[in-house]
Symmetry: C2
Subunit: 464 residues, 2 copies
């Protein structure tokens, strides 16, 4: 009779263990099709278990189709053909992600936030309050566009600090801007052609690419994207960051903005996506006003994120839809659940409402200004000064460093990597793939530890 | 000279206020193109503010292109054409989402979790620990596939409780299954044809629809989806829930599973998406084993979610990619940031590692079993018993109630709505749009408050 040893498997429930053993024997052909299994009673006696243990094991096997029953309650092994499955050869080639970490002394590419900058105490306090006071709301599924208190808080914040009048109903909250781009493509249409700024942020091209959408880079002049080039590109949607272009830091003046509106007004199919991703972090003067605030025709979809103002590791972004698109959004995409957890939506709503966000942004802005000033001062006092010229230092959390060297951009990046510096060059943001060397570093200092400034400059110098 | 009153605007910084006033006057044509603005000094005296206040206001206007400067530091209003923007008429038609709430006595459709079921105390404790001990990790951007400790915890959990051997590298964590479907479409290809079970879960069709992908419903027999129909459909990807079909609750037996593998093995382009969304909640016996555990050829993408086992308001799901697809995933989609916040990823990792998830699932399962037994008992003791027949009560968090009535399905749903019951009928899950009335209610009791059982049954009866 079938016998399985329980010895080594004390932590699995007995019927579950027997079920696994019999299943394995069936799959391995030890138990052949149409073989009769022992009666429950005899098997139970043999295994020294209760009859109900055997019953449960058989029931599970029966349910999953490994055995079948005949009258008088005997069970037999099912007959089925098991296809030959060949292991794909790729298995061994893949490198586990966990081993791929390179050692980095300073990262001048990523948008990290240092642990000491995040208001952990406030966040933890608000989270605790939300958990203790709003249990029912925490368990009630969020509306697809986000919970009402968060959308209300965002609308008030925009009114007070950006002079932007929006209704909470127009706001769609989502887990990161990348996710919202994906939604926008579904909303505006996959058959449309999307224009993007060149140079620009490579992730945006990659998202259009990954979504199988036609996209076209449009060259910029000093004022931003050229409406004539936009017209000839035959694009229907244009993706802009007019208040703070990445990576050049350029601001599109109001006259050019109206020219872009003029372009959009030519067809009901045309729209402008305004990506205002780190407008809060202009280090001089006020944030630049938005195109959305000039929009009376419902042509602008405004996007922003808490990635920069809070931390990139909490994934909350939002977009503001013009009313006409909102109707379509609800019809076509209203079925989607919101991608942000209620716990964080309600906590962030409190964080904004109670004025913590504004305080935090001001503190961060001061911190970044100090960091930038110190970094620039150190560069100016170092031998690097003779090789380089700093540009666009008001741009936000990065500036450009144009260097005199004979190395090409790729060589510069590689040489920096040998110094354990993660850094990028301006040509990496050219959608037409680096036609000519720019010899210009992009210095994103938002995650640079103040104590590492001197050493970073020394290492940078060694690359030249 | 230009004069603006500060009286009512004491809470805005002065330069910001002046900037707004001048900007408004330029936009409204009060200040015409090429008009010279007052000198800083004279304007400051007139407004009784410091010269630097005027300087800052002018600087912001200059930066945004509302004014331009000429030698000897005078400023002039820029000349630009402001297009006529007509408000779209749709504005007034839209109904704010906040007013659309219908009054509902009992919701037998949604997957709500009652507030008393969620382990708030444990979750809050773990969140607090994570915040106090893991500050640096909380601020370090997650790998795109999710933070390592969470993926490790999921892998251990699957090994221990589902007999599924996966490597943490194969796991992709995302903000909800809907989001992961979107990623999978990007990964497997938009040109492919996706087969889905009929009847099935309408959200899945809607997601394929919204992503502009061809999808085809395939009718099921008692054993699940038919491989012959799949073959003739010319689909390359099939979306299955073989361990617990929604809404019928059917289990696909091992023989049929291997036939489906046979289908998938015919071409390297063919894949099976196994959606195991609430496998933890079989109320009888063990969870049904997965197709992924039978897969030796890298044909199955396994998906599951913490929506059911924790709460739908925390958005964490995951998928397990076969190695071959993983390489493609990293190449094509590796640039995407993870959509789940680090705070919740690390907290959930602890929740799983410390054994709380398993305890919670067991408690929930017991609670659901009690709720279901009581609900079924009440139905059997009520006059409803004579009109109805309960089916598939082991299915999970819902069962079917077939009723004898002359009303059609839509009428039944409407009549229930008048009784303030949200309920659905089986025909609503037919992708070919309700060919014939099923007169079968789908009773999702997961969010039903025990105190409302009797009254719910009385109201249900009134619909018949």
């Amino acid at each position: 009779m079938l016998t399985y040893s329980f010895a080594e498997n004390s932590n699995i429930i007995k019927y579950e263990y027997l079920y696994r053993c019999i299943k394995r024997d069936i799959l391995q052909g030890v138990l052949q099709p149409d073989v009769r299994l022992p009666s429950k009673r005899a098997f139970a006696k043999n295994q020294n278990v209760s009859v109900s243990t055997i019953e449960n094991a058989y029931a599970q096997l029966l349910l999953e189709g490994f055995i079948y029953s005949k009258p008088r309650s005997f069970f037999y092994v099912s007959s089925f053909i098991r296809p030959v499955m060949r292991k794909s050869i790729i298995d061994k080639k893949i490198e586990p992600s966990s081993s791929k970490k390179e050692r980095v002394f300073a990262d001048l590419v990523s948008n990290r936030t240092s642990a000491h900058q995040f208001p952990f105490a406030t966040w933890a306090k608000l989270m605790r309050e939300v958990i203790s006071k709003q249990k029912v709301w925490l368990m009630t599924p969020s509306e697809g566009q986000g919970v009402w208190p968060l959308r209300q808080a965002i609308a008030s914040h925009l009114r007070a600090f950006r002079g932007l009048e929006v209704h909470p109903d127009q706001i769609v909250v989502g887990a990161g801007t990348e996710y919202l781009y994906g939604l926008l493509i579904q909303l505006l249409g996959r058959e449309k052609k999307y224009a993007v700024e060149n140079p620009g942020y490579p992730k945006i091209w990659k998202i259009y690419q990954a979504n199988g959408v036609q996209w076209i880079p449009i060259d910029m002049d000093q004022k931003g994207l050229c409406p004539e080039k936009l017209e000839t590109s035959r694009a229907q949607v244009v993706h802009l960051s007019p208040s703070h272009h990445f990576p050049t830091g350029r601001v599109t003046p109001v006259g050019r903005r109206y020219e872009l509106f003029e372009w959009a007004l030519q067809s009901p199919e045309r729209f402008i996506i305004e990506d205002d991703y780190d407008s809060e972090f202009r280090l001089l003067g006020s944030p630049i006003s938005t195109m959305a605030s000039l929009d009376e025709a419902g042509k602008v979809v405004y996007m922003n994120t808490f990635t920069k103002s809070l931390t990139p590791t909490i994934r909350i972004s939002y977009m503001i839809l013009p009313w006409a698109l909102l109707t379509q959004f609800r019809e076509k995409l209203g079925f989607y659940a919101c991608t942000v957890s209620n716990f964080e939506q309600y906590t962030l709503a409190q964080f904004i409402q109670q004025g913590y966000l504004e305080k935090h942004i001001n503190r961060m802005r001061n911190g970044y200004r100090t960091l930038r000033d110190r970094l620039i001062q150190c560069i100016q006092q170092s031998p690097l000064q003779r090789y380089g010229e700093i540009q666009e230092e008001e741009a936000g959390l990065h500036f450009l460093l144009k260097v005199r060297t004979s190395y090409r951009d790729e060589e510069l990046v590689q040489r920096a990597a040998k110094q354990q510096l993660r850094i990028s060059c301006l040509s990496q943001y050219d959608a037409r793939l680096a036609r000519k060397p720019t010899r210009t570093f992009l210095i994103n200092y938002s995650g640079l530890e103040p104590g590492k400034i001197e050493e970073t400059i020394i290492r940078l110098q060694k690359c030249l």
